[in-house]
Amino acid sequence: MAEAHTEHFDPVTHLPFYISKNEAVATAGSCFAQHISRALSFERFNYLVTEERPLTPGATDENFGVFSARFGNIYTIRQLLQLFDRAYGLFEPRELVWARNNGAALDPFRPRIQQGGFASPDQVVADREAHLAAVRRMFERCAVFIFTLGLTEAWVSQADGAVFPLAPGVVGVEESQARSVNFEAISMIGDLKEFIDKLLAINARVKVILTVSPVPLVATFENRHVLVSTTSSKASLRVAAEEVCKYRPEQVAYFPSYEIIMAGGYRPPNFADDLRSVTEEGVRRVMTVFRRHFLTEAEAGRTPESPIGAIELGAEDVSRMKAVANVICDEEAIGGSGA
């Protein structure tokens, strides 16, 4: 009875929107998000990939298509917010390149994106520019953005709080001045709201789906058992998702992949024998529910664009435009706004 219940467990009741098969879907997030992106590619979803192949001389053909752009795993909300801010030139971290012990250069924000690293810091910078351009295309073109919240603990630069997806030492980097942080729920709520607002600023029609990864932590900075940290982490992430859904109820939906997997507890068939890895069967169950509720055969209608027409002008607009109309070339600009 218990098995049958788990197999057909479907906790989704109401969603604020659907995904049409012609709508571009982008994904990002933690390890579990890779399952979602793979499943979307196999299903009939229009999976958006804006960084499909190496674009710079230093790039190798690795990790393209795992996510919509080649950013690797994005574990924390702060990392996602900073990806946006870095892509749009709002944040320029001080630590821009990591030097590995063997001389290879790494991008600190996606250190595992290619196994051997890059041959020089210049190659890292050049490839990151191309990558961030692809990230901008993703944010601006996607109709649906699915983000899987993974962790609350992270490594950040002591210099400016830049979030690294993993500890520098893990990839053979010794010089970085990184420290560990465990983000508070309240700061994650703030970060996620800020990210959503920024995304909507450049893509007003985007719909966002938030999920929480069911994968438990493998380790914790905190002085306690990893299961206790896992519970705290999932609870905080779940609260952040909940609050942001309430904040933007028409644009943001929560999808309970965490609940679907956890309904059976940390054991097969949703978890492998290591009681940590989500099985293909578990992913299938999640995606079955996802497809059942979100995917619609109907094509999304195009929202008619508003034609350019008169709007009310502010005082500064009026004087600025008046000055432009009053310019006589080769004369001194009247009012300082013309040419």
């Binding site: 749009y88 944040f91 002008l313 009053n326 600009a333 300082g336 013309g338 040419a339």
Partner: protein, 297 residues
């Protein structure tokens, strides 16, 4: 039929288009050229011999004493056939394009001539390195600066101004916006087809069939051509670019070269750059958007 056309750099195209009809002996009265040559008075004396006087509604005519002979009341005293037309200004394709002046009210020149980018000026004033400034040319920053609203604002402004001149350009502008290309080279330099459109409206007023009006040469294209930034161009359904064509140049310069050139110009004039409300607003928005450090508990 003799027609005098008085105004700024836009009038040579209008004159050329009117002449193409074969019915109009049009003559330009370029205010800048007349003033530079010291011939504003002597040339104005010839105006009574024209059948029609067409004049752009430009505020400076009422402000500078040299232009006194071209004030509307004076023109109406010498001719019953005076037509007031708007100067064609439209910031919608180039919301970032502006001009800045120094303490002596002289325009600070850049690789784009008299034009400056509000974003580059603001970034310069914030002390951002040129490379960082280049990365601010993106959709998010444009949205914060309300660049995507500029076409609607420019439409409103031109509609109101042209109606005040007695020559409503609303339907013309709507048609130009659907051409698939920008109808402006810069905020105040129209492309040939827009000047041709304006000339057709004049033709209709003076009894010449508009169908005979044509402007084959895009004479303002030899001046600066400011690009329509890609993210804005996509929304306006025109070709986007970040390549700037300097005045008189055959080729274009990149955004990076434009920023470097502007920075050099502003460094030379830094103490005396006058901050317009447009620049002050841009600077405040950029400053607020940038993050130098993320606080973590």
């Amino acid at each position: 039929m003799k027609v005098a056309v008085i105004g700024n750099c836009q009038i040579s195209g209008i004159v050329e288009a009117l002449r193409h009809s074969g019915y109009v002996e049009a003559e330009p009265f370029s205010l800048a050229e007349l003033r530079t040559a010291g011939r504003t008075e002597t040339e104005a004396a010839r105006l009574p011999s024209f059948d029609w006087i067409v004049i752009q509604n430009i505020e400076v005519i009422g402000l500078l004493p040299e232009y006194a002979p071209y004030r509307l009341s004076r023109l109406q005293d010498i001719s019953p056939n005076v037509i007031v037309i708007p100067s064609l200004a439209f910031t919608g394709f180039h919301p970032d394009c502006t001009a800045i002046i120094n303490a002596s009210s002289k325009v600070i020149r850049t690789p784009a001539g008299d034009y400056s980018s509000a974003l580059i000026v603001a970034a310069f004033m914030l002390g951002l390195p040129a490379r960082r400034t280049e990365r601010l040319f993106n959709a998010y920053v444009y949205q914060q600066l309300r660049y995507f609203d500029e076409a609607n604002k420019a439409f409103s402004s031109l509609q109101e101004y042209s109606r005040r001149c007695g020559m409503d350009l609303s339907s013309s502008v709507t048609a130009w916006l659907n051409q698939g290309v920008s109808f402006m080279h810069t905020i105040n330099h129209p492309v040939a087809f827009a000047l041709e459109g304006l000339a057709k409206l004049i033709a209709a007023r003076i009894g010449v069939p508009p169908s005979l009006i044509r402007l084959e040469r895009d004479n303002l294209a030899s001046n600066t051509i400011w690009p329509v930034y890609p993210e804005l161009a996509e929304r306006l359904k025109v070709q986007g670019s970040l390549l700037f064509k300097p005045a008189g140049a055959a080729g274009t310069i990149s955004l990076g070269e434009m920023i470097e050139g502007c920075y050099e110009a502003y460094e030379r004039a830094s103490d005396s750059i006058q901050i317009s409300p447009h620049i002050a607003r841009t600077k405040a928005i950029i400053e607020k958007s940038l993050v130098s450090e993320y606080v973590t508990a």
